[in-house]
């Protein structure tokens, strides 16, 4: 039998109490796509980090072509032909594509001389693998899909025979994902082997030959993609059957229009600190009891929209009103108006990691008489509130007195959600819920929980603005969907009125490519 190109034997890695990888043995055959499937925290990233030399395993070995790979040395991994495309790209924005690719491959003093040859090699590689890259372009000007191609070319340039892709589709439009899948096929045809990391079942089934499922640090199953199903994989991945909550009765366009508009944006424009326009002429209404979804590829202004409706970004033009009243750009004002806000970045914005769980739970309402008197915190009341919140929202934590950073992402998100939904007091539904990527990076159980709570809020009469890059999520929850591209927002149409193709086109700026987007939004707007 042929020697596998890559063999992991009995890999074990512990971080303190946590066993991130528990005795994992895995082989990658030549010319196959092996999918590593698993939830967040299942140990996928740890495993490839060991493979690539970022971590040293506590036990176990890595072999490439039957040769033992020295642990803890990314250089050795590179030399052995392992290439990695990280989820967050490792490119220097201010350098050209060619410089990025050459970075670290040349002796310092010979750079100029080798440049022409390098450029020819890059172009040859690009042609051979069908990867369109422009060597002279500056990376900062490229779209996300193009950057990913640069990362792949970079790995190939260094002679990669095994390519590891970490959640490669997380940042791509549906169309860009298709392009990536075509590229993968080409790579395999040219004799490369690929490890494809994902937690999306559909694409794993589509692109891979074999699937290895990780759960809680253990390898729970390995199977051929052709012989398994989505349902089976989901159960293997989670360890139990999970049902995803969906919007039961959707408000149709007419039904929704009868409720009063809670949030209204009228031709709102906003700029970032550097003066770059983030939002252009955005108009939107969210009515009581309605869930409006905002779709779009990351970086097209959704973050700005979320900040605008959370009180952390000021509108440069246009009107922002809540229940008819103009709103200032102060978080305090939005909190006092009864807006539940779930920020996109739960670690950097949602919680203060060094403060305790109870301090975080009470942080939005510290000034209220129930939590403080004369500037002195009513500790007992705040802690009681936190204990109840932890119980009601099923937050798993070692206690309310531990620092918030000790919680997992899912539990952190439940705490934030609980705090937000209690903005008008326990049991009183908020006026408006602004949830930005609320399930991003959560495990399936937490995803189901967060979605159910958002549905409950809408059911009880809250207006819900759901900003998400996950189209499945928008389809499952939203009554209406609007698409954001290059700072412009399309009209919000009933969910059923969008086809997947139309959504994809709108997300890509109506097919005019990533750069000519300014005009594209207008065309859609008029349509």
């Amino acid at each position: 039998m042929q020697v596998p190109i890559l063999r992991l034997s009995n890999i074990t890695k512990r971080f303190g109490q946590l066993t991130a990888n528990d005795d994992i043995s895995l082989e990658l055959r030549r010319g196959e796509v092996l999918a590593l499937l698993g939830e967040n925290g299942a140990g996928k990233s740890t495993l490839v980090s060991i493979l690539f030399g970022h971590y040293v395993a506590d036990a176990g070995t890595v072999e490439v072509d039957g040769q033992l790979l020295p642990p803890g040395q990314p250089r050795a991994a590179l030399a052995a032909g392992i290439g990695m495309v990280h989820q967050h790209f490792t490119l220097a924005d201010n350098l050209s594509v060619l410089d990025n690719i050459m970075l670290g491959t040349q002796p310092l003093w010979h750079w100029r001389l080798e440049r022409r040859a390098a450029r020819d090699r890059v172009l040859a590689l690009a042609e051979r693998f069908g990867l369109a890259v422009r060597p002279q372009a500056r990376v900062g000007e490229l779209s996300v899909g193009e950057r990913q191609r640069v990362e792949i070319v970079k790995a190939l340039y260094r002679g990669a025979r095994v390519l590891i892709l970490d959640e490669p589709t997380a940042v791509l439009t549906p169309h860009e994902s298709e392009t990536l899948f075509a590229t993968l096929a080409q790579l395999i045809a040219e004799g490369l082997s690929v490890i494809f990391i994902s937690h999306k079942l559909d694409e794993v089934l589509r692109v891979s030959d074999r699937i290895a499922v990780l759960r809680g640090g253990r390898l729970v199953a390995q199977c051929a993609a052709a012989q398994t199903s989505k349902a089976e994989l989901a159960e293997l991945m989670v360890g139990r059957v999970v049902s995803m909550p969906e919007r039961a009765a959707r408000l149709d366009a007419d039904g929704a229009s009868e409720a009063p508009a809670v949030l209204a944006l009228q031709k709102v424009g906003a700029c970032g600190a550097d003066g770059r326009a983030l939002l252009r002429e955005v108009s939107l209404q969210v009515r009581a009891g309605e869930i409006v979804g905002i779709a779009g590829v990351s970086g097209n202004g959704q973050a700005a929209l979320a900040e605008l409706t959370s009180g952390t970004l000021a509108a440069a033009e246009g009107h922002v009103t809540l229940a008819g009243k103009p709103m200032p750009a102060r978080p305090r004002a939005w909190i006092e108006a009864g807006v539940a806000r779930v920020p996109e970045d739960r670690h950097a914005v949602g919680v203060i990691g060094d403060l305790t769980v109870w301090e975080n739970a009470a942080s939005e309402q510290l000034g209220e008489p129930r939590f403080s008197r004369g500037g002195v915190i009513r500790r007992a009341a705040a802690q009681r509130f936190a204990r109840e919140l932890v119980a009601r929202f099923d937050v798993r934590t070692a206690g309310i007195d531990v620092p918030a950073r000790t919680m997992s992402g899912g539990n952190m998100q439940k705490l934030i959600l609980g705090r937000a939904l209690s903005v008008r007091g326990e049991g009183i539904v908020p006026l408006l819920v602004v949830a930005s990527q609320p399930t991003w990076g959560l495990d399936i159980g937490a995803v189901a929980y967060v979605r159910a709570r958002l549905l409950d809020a809408a059911q009880e009469g809250a207006a819900v603005l759901l900003i998400s890059e996950d189209l499945d999520e928008l389809h499952a929850l939203a009554d209406r969907i609007a698409v954001m591209h290059a700072g412009r927002l399309t009209e919000a149409r009933p969910t059923a009125a969008w086809t997947l193709g139309e959504l994809g086109l709108a997300m890509a700026g109506a097919g005019e490519g990533a750069h000519g987007a300014a005009g594209a939004g207008e065309v859609l707007h008029a349509a």
Binding site: A76, I352, D354, L366, I377
Partner: protein
């Protein structure tokens, strides 16, 4: 060799860290003492006796600790709110200058405008002026930071030199004591404004009680008040604090007022408690030592008191040691510096463990 995060920080480890740090410091500095040609055991005994071994030693150590507690608190408050105030030295001098301006003698008595006031009120005015002077100095830097993003490390550090030159100008000019035989020093304070002594035949004064009380008050503010929580929140994560509706800029400005005020008070206390007039060497770097003390204390107000006494004891004890066994008394600065480094390492080791793996070296 690599670092690995521990899953949690145990209480034992947190208490053991400073002890281990001090032990490590003494071991490292023993090499230097040895190098200087002195017997290590005897040198350390002398250091300990000089700092803590007698009533006189204690009185000197506590006298030295008084301004250190105040500058330490000043830095701890600011650092907690992530305002890196390196300017306690300048704030101290400006506070002392303001105190002398309010309470200094004119022709052997209080200034004409001050003579109508009761002594108590004049005392309060003097303290307020000193604190305000320090506070306003830092407020400028904090304003530049919150509005324009100017790095406060640079502005507060550079302000120290400006203030020192300004004080030097004042002491050689308008505020010079004409009877000081040409020395650049200010007129003395009105005697009634001086702080009372705590012990007979010593220099320990009631400023120590004031500093101690402020440490307790600050600890309570940190722990029990909304403002304290907001300061910690802003310091730990300003973006998240802003998102939760906290007035980040206002909190930073208040922290600046508090920090600058405490450093200014250190200046007032030195003049009113120890020298009674201002000279250019009233502080041998108490402001900078405040940074070291705040770090040693882990920014904890009560820890600042302990760290100040430790540092003061080392400084005082080293003087005695250098006279007896010929180790230069700059060993004190080395001990304090090494203690800070050891403390930083020990704190890190409460969070991480070091692992040596043979595998990593093999290749």
């Amino acid at each position: 060799m690599r670092l690995e995060a521990r899953s949690g920080v145990s209480r034992v480890a947190m208490l053991a860290a400073p002890i281990m740090a001090i032990v490590a410091t003494l071991l490292i500095c023993a090499l230097l003492v040895r190098w200087a040609g002195a017997p290590v055991g005897r040198a350390y005994m002398l250091l300990l006796e000089g700092g803590f071994g007698s009533r006189f030693a204690w009185s000197e150590t506590l006298t030295r600790a008084t301004p250190l507690i105040l500058t330490g608190l000043s830095v701890a408050v600011a650092f907690r709110a992530r305002l890196f105030n390196i300017g306690a030295e300048g704030q101290l001098y400006l506070g002392a200058l303001a105190a002398v301006a309010v309470g200094g003698q004119v022709d052997g008595a209080a200034a004409p405008w001050a003579q109508q006031l009761p002594t108590g009120l004049l005392f309060v005015l003097m303290v307020a002026a000193g604190m305000l002077a320090g506070a306003l100095l830092l407020l400028g830097a904090a304003w530049l930071k919150t509005r324009l993003g100017v790095d406060e490390v640079v502005t507060t550090l550079l302000a120290n030199f400006i203030v020192l030159l300004f004080v030097s100008m004042m002491l050689d000019g308008p505020m010079k004591d004409a009877t000081a035989m040409g020395w650049p020093q200010s007129v003395p304070l009105v005697p009634e404004l001086e702080l009372s002594k705590l012990m007979a035949r010593s220099r320990v004064h009631s400023g120590l009680l004031l500093a101690g009380a402020l440490a307790v008050i600050l600890w309570a503010v940190n722990r029990f008040t909304v403002f304290g929580l907001q300061m910690r929140a802003v310091g730990a994560n300003a973006r998240a604090a802003a998102f939760a509706g906290m007035p980040v800029r206002r909190v930073t400005m208040w922290a600046a007022l508090l920090s600058g005020g405490l450093a200014g008070l250190a200046g007032v206390v030195e003049v009113a408690g120890r020298t009674s007039y201002l000279t250019l060497d009233i502080s041998p770097g108490y402001g900078y030592a405040g940074v070291v003390i705040a770090m040693l204390a882990g920014l904890h107000p009560l820890g600042v008191v302990a760290a100040s006494v430790f540092v003061a004891g080392v400084l005082v004890g080293a003087d005695g040691m250098s006279r007896a066994v010929g180790v230069p008394n700059s060993i004190a600065d080395v001990i304090v510096a090494v203690a800070l480094l050891a403390m930083l390492v020990a704190t890190m080791l409460t969070r991480y463990r070091i692992r040596f793996d043979a595998q990593g070296k093999a290749a």
